[in-house]
Every structure is written in C-alpha cells, then in structure tokens.
Symmetry: C2
C-alpha cells in the first residue's frame, strides 16, 4: 500500500499571483540561457505567454524582473535584474524552509496515523 | 498599495487527493446536520457529487468516513465514524500548525522585503 503524504502549492500573492515555482523556474532558465525565448521554450511555454506572465508579475510586484533587448518576434536577449535576482534568492530559501517546515508538521500530526496503517 | 502575502493550498495525498479543507468542511457539516444531503447542500455541492467524493476518499484512506443509513434519493441520515472523527481532529491541528508555520516562514524571508515597499 502506498503511503500517505502531504501535498501543497505555495505562492506569493499581491492582488493575484505575484511569484511562485513556475516564475522562479522561468527566471532561473533566463539566467542560464540569457534568453526569455529559450527559457520559455524549455518550459514548453509560448514566448508570448512567458512575456505576458513576466509583465503581470512585474506589475504586481512593483519592480522589473527582466531587462530586455528588443529583438522582434525571436525575443532578443534577456537578463534578470538585480531586484529579480534578489527575489529569486529570497524565494529559494523561503521555498526550502516551506518544504522542511511542512514535512515536519505533517510528520508531527500524521506520523503515528501512518504507522497504524 | 496592497501588501504581499503568502498563499497556499495543502492536502493529504495517497495516490490522489485523500483529505483536505473541502472534505474536512463537508464532514464537519455532516456532524452538525447528521445528513450528507444537508451538508452537501450547504456547500452548494450536489448530493451525488458529495457521495462520490466521500467514497473516493474512503478508498484512498483505506477506512470508512461515514456511516450511512440508506434513504433513497433524499440521502438518509449520516454519521461520521470514529476513524473519520479521529482524522478530522488530526487534520484540524495539522491545519492550524500549517497556517502558523507558513506565516512564520513567510515573515522570516519576506518581512524585510515588505518593509522596503
């Protein structure tokens, strides 16, 4: 029999979704590839969808995540801004703590229940 | 400007969703009304949907949540089983700890960011 486990989704909200695992992953790939086009491609997301996502997040956050070189339909080069990088660093550590914290809380309340099963 | 906050969904998983806020609320209302029909109604859920939900959860959890008196299309009376009640109690405490824990983790990592805003 499979074990029970905790499952969750977590994100930052500011009048709507402002940051989360998906945006983090997208920015991480922009950092590696220097290109929103390639980053989107790797995540099987259209460039226009990725671009709209970034714009929406920037509006909600109140700061710019990507410096963009205009490059026509191919998208040009992109670079994560220092504020974007700062958010990524905070989010990374936040996300690790969330994972550890929730696992601990789950075990505290359901560890014994599982052992009964 | 609105403040940023943490948002999340959390549930128990065992080859699929096995328990969460919705099922907890449904069982809580069954306890009060002694009727799955009324509980479902209060949550604007059809009786058949609520019934299927309970059956699915019971299969995944491996124990019975509701004792049912058959009552035709109106649903008859329902009572939460002792194992169901035990799960509700664990879940209640688990859920409170999740809320407190995530709020604490959020403040740890994003409290300072907010103060900048």
């Amino acid at each position: 029999m499979k074990e029970m486990k905790i499952a969750y989704k977590v994100w930052l909200d500011k009048e709507g979704k402002a940051f989360g695992d998906g945006p983090y992953e997208l920015l991480r790939r922009v950092e590696k590839t220097k290109s929103l086009h390639q980053a989107a491609n790797q995540m099987r997301m259209s460039y226009s969808k990725a671009w709209r996502l970034i714009r929406t997040l920037e509006e909600r956050l109140g700061f710019i995540l990507l410096e963009r070189k205009t490059g026509g339909p191919s998208g040009g080069g992109s670079k994560v801004t220092p504020q974007g990088k700062d958010l990524m660093n905070h989010y990374e550590r936040f996300r690790r703590d969330v994972e550890k914290g929730l696992e601990r809380i789950y075990k505290k309340h359901f560890g014994a229940v599982e052992r009964k099963g």
